[in-house]
Symmetry: C2
Subunit: 323 residues, 2 copies
């Protein structure tokens, strides 16, 4: 049935996405507790902090302490997020993060203005500069992201042609400095995607750039996250960002707020059940989901942490049959 | 892209599924308030009560009063649920419900035992009897349901062959009495389905019974509801049960509880965005979702009622562009 990948690589972004947006103060110790628990589930990639101004994101003021306090698990890559050289320097200075280059374009000029206060031309210049910085420092570029690839709250639907232009530009920018791009992330930053638009956009990018590995970053504001991820898998996409328990928004605050990334447990459950390997222990991960709720102090949207896994039920049934 | 239907028919089951399971007492007036609000959204089919023993389902003690108190909207079909002749008599006695025949088999013998305390042979006899009763009273059979069609908490995964046998049996039982079955509902009663198993089962049933119209009844306990519904749509399924705001479980009670049906607003949002007609006004429906939360007094899992519609955003963007 379609091109389901055999393995899927999941990057956990809950700590970074979640802790930056939560209203309540979360102690450094509790942030570390969740990160350490997640690192024992089989998750191999985790974005745990961002190095941004505490004026803009007060919750990330302890980014260095969080990194310093965690207990590194062998085989787990911990990463951070930054938007300029200063942030990159802070990340490098921790000495404990995997430093990989990331560049981005935004398919919506209006969102680019609101989000980073840049025009497309300025973003192009910044990206060119970052590629240069990475090159100078010998940092490989892991992925290029097209933000707002499906739609924008300020600009509306984003045509496929616009995303293709952005991918072309990213590749051209990298090529200018002799750098090859091998992976592009299509980010549904404001949750406009549907399974249909996922298939159409992934298909179009793949047709034009068959050599690029594609990944999806899917927000779940309108409940389409899992359906969108599965649509991606049916198109052969094998890399996803996700967020434990669906951390990253405040969907239960009673207002129309943006939700977090697609829930990691629900995504792993889906993979488990359709026979796609993730290397992640779903039972342990569901415990992390419940821990995340405890850490933030309010319910989070993940389903499997509440509904339970089928593997546990199957085991119970098998044992009952033996007895 | 695949066989997406042009129109989808959605049966709202929130009032029946939700009110029967909620712990808190809900007044008759508030039940009616939600039903009346739902009936103004463009929803054409609504299951609002069940006629069962108040000993088993105390919350349904006011079923007759709920039916008596509602303000019928032209074009809306209000239905009830029953499991025996006595329940059917009560439904008919209200004089305000659309009375349509419904028969069922359960693909899991163990669930049948737990749920209705019957063996498969007894269920066969009961179903035969109900077909007779419907025939006697001139009630057309609208649909036959195969419950636990994807998996069972007591029995595990359900093989496709078992579901096919159940469909065969239902058709044979109807044929015995000269009644034709035209529609079969595949019910994921305990939320074991994935988009992959939906496609496989729908494909298998359709191949063997190309003349049957198929519908899906999808519980959302593990967050797969929307992905499963979309998988059904890609296979051409055009009838779904759903539940406003995801009413029908207690997913936020902190225990592994079964959740309700797939959320109606999220399902309508999906249809709207991929160009499938439902006839339902999503903005009004999202208001009903928020009303449902108010009526039950706790958060419910629906996403779109919190995240907002894209149609509203598009309108705002268009208006801003004009100004």
């Amino acid at each position: 049935m379609a091109d389901l990948p055999k393995k899927v690589s999941i990057k956990e972004e809950g700590p970074r996405e979640g802790f930056q947006i939560e209203k309540g103060p979360i102690t450094t110790a509790r942030k570390i507790e969740l990160i350490d628990a997640l690192s024992k589930t089989g998750i191999k990639h985790m974005q745990i902090v961002s190095f941004v101004s505490p004026k803009v994101v007060p919750n990330m003021i302890d980014a260095e302490e969080v990194v310093k306090g965690l207990t590194p698990q062998p085989g787990v890559s911990y990463t951070g997020l930054w938007f300029n050289d200063q942030g990159l320097d802070r990340a490098i200075a921790t000495g404990r993060l995997e430093i990989k280059g990331n560049i981005s374009m935004t398919a919506s000029a209006q969102f680019l203005k609101k989000n980073l206060n840049r025009t497309p031309e300025q973003q192009l210049a910044v990206t060119r500069g970052m590629i240069g910085t990475y090159k100078e420092r010998g940092i490989a570029i892991e992925r290029a992201t097209v933000m707002a690839a499906f739609g924008c709250n300020f600009e509306g639907d984003i045509p496929i042609s616009r995303v293709l232009e952005n991918v072309d530009r990213l590749r051209a920018l990298a090529a200018e400095q002799g750098v090859a791009l091998t992976r592009v992330s299509l980010a549904d930053t404001m949750a406009w995607a549907t399974p249909l638009s996922i298939k159409r956009l992934v298909g179009a990018v793949r047709e034009k750039h068959p050599d690029l590995e594609l990944e999806l970053h899917l927000h779940d504001t309108r409940g389409m996250g899992i359906a969108n991820a599965y649509a991606g898998m049916e198109m052969g996409v094998a890399r996803f960002d996700s967020s434990v328990a669906g951390l990253g928004g405040c969907p239960f605050a009673g207002h129309a707020g943006a939700a977090g990334n697609v829930c990691t447990e629900d995504l792993v459950f889906l993979c488990d059940e359709v026979g796609i390997e993730t290397g992640i222990d779903l039972a342990k991960l569901a415990e992390c989901g419940r821990l995340a709720e405890d850490v933030v102090g309010h319910p989070l949207p993940g389903s499997v942490m509440k509904g339970g896994t089928l593997r546990a039920l199957r085991q119970k049934i098998t044992e009952a049959a033996r007895a």
